[in-house]
Assembly symmetry: C2
Homo-oligomer: 268 residues x 2
């Protein structure tokens, strides 16, 4: 086996700089977008990320994890394998790396929105800035058999470590894309034959029961927004229907990922 | 206004010991159970906690938050009001207290399981040890109009700060209780007239669609377990039916709170 193995013993070694401070969200956000990379954690996730077309820049792992990844390592001889102790990995990343292996990957070319317009059932997320929610929405859409997820420009990054983890790796299997333009996203969907249903708590929203009982369009896009502010007025006004999940016990709303699960189930 | 106001300037002051290290889960778990207390954060949550019958032990707040809580403070003259700077609050609790006010409350007598047996629709959570999931399950059950939540002995504490927060305060409005005994919980429910449906991925589970399309029992308990190990064999075997949410795109399962939302919607 040919391994481009590099033993590293200094946490400040610049070759490890892709992996620094993985818990510092704002630092990571700028570092990852600047370098066009993201981090995958654990053998299974690293494998799925590479299979999904993301090329490894490097691996960071303790000696005993090399075996499980040897086929991937061999197929990517250009990616150095930084072999470190678990203590050093913790020092660099700022947390205990439970799953023992990390990889830094080049982000593949993003999927264009146009590639999703031929599908039948899409979830469209407006400004969901929380990585946990974006990951959970993608997991729910995938698990419940929807075909893809579109994200508004300000929605959180599905390839951020936390999103990947919460999504259970579904960010690597379910097609997702950014909308080209916030202002024209809904008309573009409608032009491609989608009926667009906004999930929102407006006064004139029809209940999800009622909507689900009616005719089921061939192509359906369900649009969800942040919990606090909800969807933008423009997207609500552009939608073909506004639907709400009736709430009881004085509860304002469900968490957006739970609401997405309910809507994906009711409108599957 | 009579305020039992105590200015505190030393983070090590033992009078603040109810509030130490709020982010240290294992320390807090033992401290809170030993003292029979829990912590509420933010005016709205503190208010709901007190209205739900939990008596304040003390308040910890910055000067400017006294006004909003003055009626509660006046009604509980026995509870000292520790007035601190925001920096000191952060030093004691270990995090920046966004909502400005904390209260330490005596836990009210727990609701007995028997009190929930007269209700119609219950969610029963087995060993959900994650506070986020317990909070989310209670929020979902409440929002979707279910009547209460039963928790197995090992399920996480709904009054833990993280659970309260994720539940959006619904832990103070939706009835919940611990089961008396893990071994007899399911037969007890059945004896009280409940049809017990276990949500599990066993080979012979019927799909949720199929189950939901059938006759709807008057009294229904939906039982959910951890994501990894699922429900215990005993609970699955004791249940009247085993139901699964059909999964697609190679996804193993939904997160337990999302699965609960879907089940509560489908079986409402």
């Amino acid at each position: 086996m040919v391994v481009n193995r590099v033993a590293v013993t200094d946490a400040a070694d610049p070759r490890l700089s892709d992996y620094v401070a993985l818990r510092d969200t704002s630092l990571r956000r700028s570092l990852e977008s600047e370098r066009g990379l993201f981090i995958a954690e654990g053998e299974k996730v690293i494998r799925r990320a590479i299979e999904a077309g993301h090329r490894p820049r490097s691996f960071l792992l303790a000696e005993r994890w090399i075996g499980g990844l040897s086929d991937l390592i061999e197929r990517h001889p250009g990616a150095p394998v930084y072999v470190v102790t678990e203590a050093l990995a913790e020092q660099v990343t700022g947390f205990h790396v439970h799953r023992g292996a990390l990889a830094s990957l080049h982000r593949a070319e993003p999927t264009p929105m146009a590639d999703l317009l031929g599908l039948g059932r899409l979830v469209v997320a407006e400004d969901i800035v929380d990585h946990t929610n974006v990951g959970a929405i993608i997991r729910n859409a995938a698990g419940l058999g929807w075909d893809g997820v579109l994200l508004a420009p300000r929605a959180a990054d599905p390839l951020y470590r936390r999103s990947v983890k919460v999504s259970m790796g579904t960010v690597f299997s379910l097609p997702w894309a950014r909308v080209d333009d916030w202002a024209t996203a809904i008309p573009t969907l409608q032009g491609a034959g989608f009926t667009v249903v906004a999930l929102a708590l407006t006064a004139d929203a029809v209940s999800l029961d009622h909507y689900a009982a009616g005719a089921r369009p061939d192509k359906l896009a369900v649009v969800v927004g942040t919990e606090g502010d909800g969807l933008s007025r423009r997207w609500v006004e552009q939608a073909d229907a506004v639907v709400q999940i009736p709430m009881q016990h004085g509860v304002d709303s469900l968490n957006v990922a739970a609401a997405t699960a309910v809507a994906c189930w009711a409108l599957r």
